[in-house]
Symmetry: D2
Subunit: 340 residues, 4 copies
Amino acid sequence: MILVLKQDATMNAIATLIDLLKTMGVSVQEIKGGANPMLGIAGDVSAFPEDTIARNELVETILHVREPYKRAGRRFHPEDTLVTVGNAKIGAGHFAVMAGPCSVESEDQILSIARDIAGSGATFLRGGAFKPRSSPYAFPGLGLDGLELLKVARQKTGLPIVTEIMSSEHLEAFAKDVDVIQIGARNMQNFTLLREVGALGKPVLLKRGLSSTIEELLMAAEYLINGGTENIILCERGIRTFETATRNTLDLSAIPVLKQKTHLPVIADPSHGTGYWHLVEPMALAAVAAGADGLIIEVHNTPQTALCDGQQSITPEVFHHLMKKIQRVRQAINVNNRED
Amino acid sequence: MILVLKQDATMNAIATLIDLLKTMGVSVQEIKGGANPMLGIAGDVSAFPEDTIARNELVETILHVREPYKRAGRRFHPEDTLVTVGNAKIGAGHFAVMAGPCSVESEDQILSIARDIAGSGATFLRGGAFKPRSSPYAFPGLGLDGLELLKVARQKTGLPIVTEIMSSEHLEAFAKDVDVIQIGARNMQNFTLLREVGALGKPVLLKRGLSSTIEELLMAAEYLINGGTENIILCERGIRTFETATRNTLDLSAIPVLKQKTHLPVIADPSHGTGYWHLVEPMALAAVAAGADGLIIEVHNTPQTALCDGQQSITPEVFHHLMKKIQRVRQAINVNNRED
Amino acid sequence: MILVLKQDATMNAIATLIDLLKTMGVSVQEIKGGANPMLGIAGDVSAFPEDTIARNELVETILHVREPYKRAGRRFHPEDTLVTVGNAKIGAGHFAVMAGPCSVESEDQILSIARDIAGSGATFLRGGAFKPRSSPYAFPGLGLDGLELLKVARQKTGLPIVTEIMSSEHLEAFAKDVDVIQIGARNMQNFTLLREVGALGKPVLLKRGLSSTIEELLMAAEYLINGGTENIILCERGIRTFETATRNTLDLSAIPVLKQKTHLPVIADPSHGTGYWHLVEPMALAAVAAGADGLIIEVHNTPQTALCDGQQSITPEVFHHLMKKIQRVRQAINVNNRED
Amino acid sequence: MILVLKQDATMNAIATLIDLLKTMGVSVQEIKGGANPMLGIAGDVSAFPEDTIARNELVETILHVREPYKRAGRRFHPEDTLVTVGNAKIGAGHFAVMAGPCSVESEDQILSIARDIAGSGATFLRGGAFKPRSSPYAFPGLGLDGLELLKVARQKTGLPIVTEIMSSEHLEAFAKDVDVIQIGARNMQNFTLLREVGALGKPVLLKRGLSSTIEELLMAAEYLINGGTENIILCERGIRTFETATRNTLDLSAIPVLKQKTHLPVIADPSHGTGYWHLVEPMALAAVAAGADGLIIEVHNTPQTALCDGQQSITPEVFHHLMKKIQRVRQAINVNNRED
């Protein structure tokens, strides 16, 4: 961090500011030679009250050289993180697809879908037991009963289960029964929940908030790591823009940007990211081509009667063909350049 | 809600669709005379699985005539809601200012600020005990100790206290000690928390999410009302846009739009809404001129050493002058047109 | 278009409104059976003063069933448009890559790049002679001299040239010398220029505006078609969002959405769309996987000394390898499903 | 501008980079003492190829201390600019209202409105002769005939006229007949038009683009100044966001930000900024309270039959009352603090 000071700052005033800064646990270096006097701030700046210092009458502006996250970043952790759940692996060159319905609705439904997607090559079963709904009158999911049905499906298919937690009161149940705990987009900055889920030490699927920057997503991951888990899968699921032709704008450039900045695996959600089932295939393939470590896709056996998000779910048959195409695109991008 | 059907839909297929719709607890009317056949959906559509029906092969598109919220809207509740807390009133023609520091830091600090703002005419004391911080390393607030300090300040000044809840685990403490429970922008769609806080039946300050639409804000209020409280104060606090000259873009047009759509009082937060203390005065006055029922403003006695958000806090002296200007703008806009 | 009328509208008032509407050259049908009376507006609504009618005291809201564009849409022109320029083809199953420097700088530079990209399989040469720069002090391009250099490069390589027009005063020169006339993002709603360029009847590359919706892009194409050309290539080049990690947010979902709505070919610009050369490859491949009909890519032989946009240009060598990967991804997605 | 170099940059490599930079007409100073070596770039950096230098292998990042505009900024031109047109004045403490219809439709219409608004205190007549319309089929304005009608209205009322130019071909007519030439939002980055209009030396009303940052607006003003005029009025007219309850999001915080950064007068357009006539009054008053130097407001004598934008026009009677309220808010905010 560099404090650019006002051009007319006196040496005395600067010395006083330096003394103040040193009480804040950082080291301070004078930087000379520019048009303005400047101070370099180093050491542990993680708790440095930057916004307040910006208010200081000597300070013209504050410039940043480094990113604010540490353990989520590649700088101090250059090698890829591999998340392993039973036989399923994701990250560090391993690609995985999570599939399943928006909401768990019945044992027949979840078993049928789980068997179909497993047959097509998915290695995680996703399904909502607790659903965040913008209306208090909409179907909120089956709750703990839904969790039981997911467990049945896991037992029958061997697929680890991914499902969203919405409240601290279910921490114990999720710790016991869920393989990958999902933090949804609306809770990405629910810092209390991040700390608590991190403390469980289990794998987490962390979705990007609807208007969260890539840096904020990494800071949310930093909360989880700080809480106690490094087994984090990041998920781009669309951001909010002015465009109304799609439900959200799937920001696929976030994938290569994240792969550069962090060691954590990164997946994409073309179902929520677009909101329309016919956009799922092209955007799933595009995410793979952009370098994603995996995908999370809504699959429903009877989407026209689904209790939630039927408009963006694909059928098991469409999913089956998509998995083959995904495979081909993976091969296409992974050929070593030297073979050309 | 109107389902616009495909032009080539057969009468038989339409009849089958109507039967399906009727099983969903709504009434269905055929609408004739347009270029496409249409179905009008009436009755209680609050749990209607619209996104799934949109997937039906007969349906070309779905059009909405009505807003999705009910009890938060003016349609069934035309008269303004007045929120009363002790001697303080807001809404239904009553204007109120909430002021105080971003974070409670010490007894001296909060008492000094509380006395100053009370002397200038503020009628609520705001101050953070639990702080949502994007970094896990930043000052998180004093927690329950901060709540105790706020209670001391209330006792000395008589000002009711407004402070943010971040976790269900503090529901009991907030129910007992806090006058107005704040739901922050990042928790506006934490539906679990909305239900739980609503169930307390206490006044709530609900802040608009960083990328939430006005309709989503009203749906969050609907959650609170559905949970058990109608004493809700809505707060415009800036939305996220591409502009970087301000921390957020304070959407003041949300004020007259909300005043038209809902009976709930609406205030503005020019401190978070802009991020810079020198923009607080012009935007506070603008919010008043736009018809706000009140303001929430960060005031700190020594902003240059504040532990959080010092850059956007004004001093008690600046606040004092601002309160006089607010008074004058209030008078300017409230003169009856007939007196002109 | 459907006018939803107020519930308490009298039959007399409705009859008067119908008479008014009929004077506007549209046909009007009463739609009965819904909760509100409604009027269906049909016929040629292209000049219908919708915003004014929305103001009518009887009208509660206006709903749209149809898109506002006609000749750019698939409804009345279902088959793909193929744009042919000399030996180069794009659209209707033909894929093409346009490559070259941001700015033409010298004969050596443009010839060297043109030969390299032709050798790698590009079929169009792009290069800026007139450059839109946000600063009046930045390098504005070589102007007509740059055009001459592009012509030399075309003569030596046979590649048709794509370059941006910025002013009506150059219409004649572009009509004579340029193969594909580019309308840049900042001029996408320069309606005067759209009409004039359309009237030339030549192929046009139309870039999406920084904050233009997909519908507005298609309306701009409608201007060109109305002016006199149907040989239009649409280009997604990134939209403006709150994210700052990339220069723009490349909206790849616009590709399948556009392919569904319009018959015109659609390409992507991963160079401007991301702003960083190391993001060009993953986003180029992603665009191909999403179904793009082509790409436009900045290639510079010495990007570190380029006079403009060096940060987002790739070298001819990187381009060469990218072209091979593009080829492989094209094959991967084009295998017929029946072969699976 | 500060180039932050990589930590492992050798002294030799840095010396070579410094030599390269010096050939670009800037002065370079080594800045020592920070964690990374840095170079300060001073002198005339207006044409410095920053994006290309960012690509240099030694450069980690580039930091900015100064704004990129010069003559539009307060740094070298601290005193307010006063724009004078006949008897009308705006800026430097002078407040002015521009009013009139979206489109000039007939002599009766424009004369009637002009007389009404003059009677209510407006000092400029605005009215569109050339209209930018997103559809090629919508009413494009009366063109040069509209200009003639505006001249008649000016002759009868004495009000100077403000109208939008859309094409270079009308430069001569506008130079001769128009008092304040408007550059619309869609042409804010039509750099050719900016240069040409600037060269006329006449007063210009420059509207902010739909997704333009405040800095880009000031760079567009810099083009005009560089072209030849300093009589520029800036206009905030709403930006594009995700919110759909209003046509645009009127960014009123842009007013105090602009007043701080530039000497040019700043006005607001609550008609286009909101899109709804009933939001014009609250947002007009809010703009005044935020410190605007003026307003531009759509007024139509029969908005329900207006040929364009009737939904956002107010009647002369509503305008009359609004002018009185504006007066009162102006007085309320202008009382000197010392009088409190």
